[in-house]
């Protein structure tokens, strides 16, 4: 009956609020018994939520939405409990940057792309971490911004962030759009340069949310306790003075409650860090504007229809009362 609540995360810096809430016993202080499940893939997170193996997860909104709508084969009652982060994604390419710094919109960006593509000598292979990710939406908007057609001018592939580092080193891919700290890590290792990202394309866009499964949603008390605990953890993580403590916690081995993240790049992308693309931990209610761009891009890609759009618009606002429909 009183099994701990299982919260799924991936090895990413924007999992920090949940990791810190566990390590600093914020969940426990709010009367919650919790267990962090570090998952190897986004598919595991989505399946875990759909088949009662997880009670909650830190996930990007498009995948949570597609899972809730049953587009992965089995519908699941899911609702976001909290916004976790804004921004933090980077678009990285290998080789030499023909421009200085991030690419400009329009013909200047297009020009840089053409020079770079000629230098690598093939149709660019760009990796993302999952098809239903904010990374795909951000990449698509970036390419559009520099007049490059994602459908025809690049080849997309899907791979885990840590694999992208290897793939870049072996020229198996030519770039990728990836979450923190992996883009910065690739840059620090000299494997890639940054041409854009969240801040270039859509500053402050919604990135991760904490989503709850139907089983957790049915328990109003646990939902409200978890929301309060996460809000507290978000304020903690947003303070630049806590940057070092969070870096150390995330760098710890999984067995010790960490995520084994590379500390040097993690330190630079946390709030108060010096990276161009830092993650922002953002408390408060999920706003309609957080979701509008995602719903509109998902519609443009043909993933969802009119009725589904209306369903997803109900995801913003205060935490839902128990057992309200998806």
């Amino acid at each position: 009956m009183n099994a701990p609540l299982r919260i799924g995360v991936l090895k990413l810096a924007d999992s920090a609020p949940v990791i810190m809430a566990q390590q600093k016993r914020i969940f426990a202080r709010h009367g919650l018994e919790t267990e962090i499940v570090v998952s190897p893939s986004w598919a595991n997170i989505a399946d875990g939520l759909a088949w009662n193996r997880l009670d909650a997860a830190v996930i990007f909104a498009p995948l949570a939405m597609m899972t809730a709508l049953g587009h992965r084969g089995h519908g699941a009652e899911l609702r976001p409990l909290a916004r976790i982060s804004r921004g933090g994604n980077t678009i990285m390419l290998r080789g030499i940057n023909p421009a200085s710094g991030v690419w400009q919109a329009g013909s200047r960006g297009r020009n840089a792309f053409d020079i770079w593509r000629n230098a690598i000598g093939r149709k660019p292979r760009i990796a993302i971490v999952h098809m239903y990710s904010t990374h795909l939406l951000i990449l698509r908007r970036f390419l559009k911004m520099i007049d490059v057609d994602m459908e025809n001018e690049v080849t997309l592939s899907v791979m885990p962030p840590a694999d992208m580092i290897h793939a870049l080193a072996e020229n198996a891919i030519d770039g990728g759009c990836v979450g923190p700290p992996w883009g910065t890590e690739a840059e620090q290792l000299g494997l890639a340069f940054q041409v854009g990202g969240s801040a270039t394309v859509l500053p402050g866009h919604l990135e991760k949310v904490l989503v709850a499964s139907g089983k957790l949603l049915a328990c109003e008390q646990k939902v409200s306790r978890m929301s309060l605990a996460v809000q507290e953890a978000l304020s903690f993580c947003q303070k630049p003075t806590h940057r070092e403590e969070i870096t150390q916690a995330l760098a710890a081995p999984v067995a010790d409650g960490g995520l084994l993240l590379p500390p040097a790049s993690t330190r630079t992308i946390l709030p108060g860090g010096e990276a161009r693309e830092c993650v922002t931990f953002s408390d408060g209610n999920l706003l309609p504007s957080d979701l509008d761009w995602i719903i509109s891009d998902m519609t443009a890609l043909g993933w969802i229809g009119e009725v589904e759009q209306q369903m997803l618009k109900r995801w913003s606002g205060p935490i839902p009362a128990a057992s309200s429909p998806v």
Partner: protein
């Protein structure tokens, strides 16, 4: 031979994608027993999606620990995928227990949507049974390792107590036992605490 020939038209190509080579081999062997199956495995260092592309299986049994499952997950949505035949996670809405057990034991199954329709549940069930057996063995192994480590701690604490208190082995064990009873804790925990306290004394 005849049997094999007869079923050759409906042979099913099954790809086993397991990061654990021993378990992958065991599962392949189990499936090989069915003459109507062609069983293939993903070689180490080959990405799951590349194996699916190269071998063209009808069914893929995937170990949930594989991080590259996300690539398979995305095939349907990837408009520029090099794969001609769409692949989707096998979901049995009528048998929620089967699906939950599969995810619990750490395995799932993908179907190639244009393949001949055939019940893949027996394959998934075989994989679940094998994964459950492997998990049990692993749990038993872990338990045995814990028991061994605890025995070592108790032995060490006994030796330390004998030296400090000039006691014999039976007296040392009785002291640990009594203390465990008084504090309602396991004897190994008491032994560990005793050793920690000794270490602290030595350091100060």
């Amino acid at each position: 031979m005849n049997e094999e020939k007869k079923s050759s038209g409906t042979r099913l190509r099954v790809l086993v994608a397991d990061e654990n080579p021993r378990r992958g081999r065991a599962l392949s062997e189990t499936l090989h027993a069915d003459a109507s199956l062609d069983v293939l495995t993903v070689p180490p260092d080959k990405a799951l999606i590349d194996a699916v592309r190269d071998y063209g299986p009808d069914v893929v049994l995937v170990d949930l620990d594989r991080a590259d499952r996300d690539a398979l997950d995305s095939i349907r949505a990837l408009s520029c995928s090099a794969l001609e035949r769409p692949v989707a996670l096998f979901v049995d809405e009528d048998d929620v227990d089967l699906m939950e057990t599969a995810f619990d034991t750490g395995v799932c199954s993908y179907n190639v949507l244009e393949a001949l329709p055939r019940d893949v549940k027996p394959l998934l069930r075989a994989a679940i049974a094998l994964y459950a057996r492997f998990r049990r063995t692993r749990d038993e192994l872990t338990e045995a390792q814990i028991a061994l480590a605890e025995r070592r701690l108790i032995e060490q604490a006994k030796r330390s107590f004998m030296k400090n208190e000039k006691a014999n082995e039976a007296q040392a064990y009785r002291w640990l036992q009594r203390r465990a009873m008084q504090t309602s804790r396991r004897i190994a925990v008491v032994a560990e605490e005793y050793l920690a306290a000794q270490k602290k004394d030595e350091a100060s």
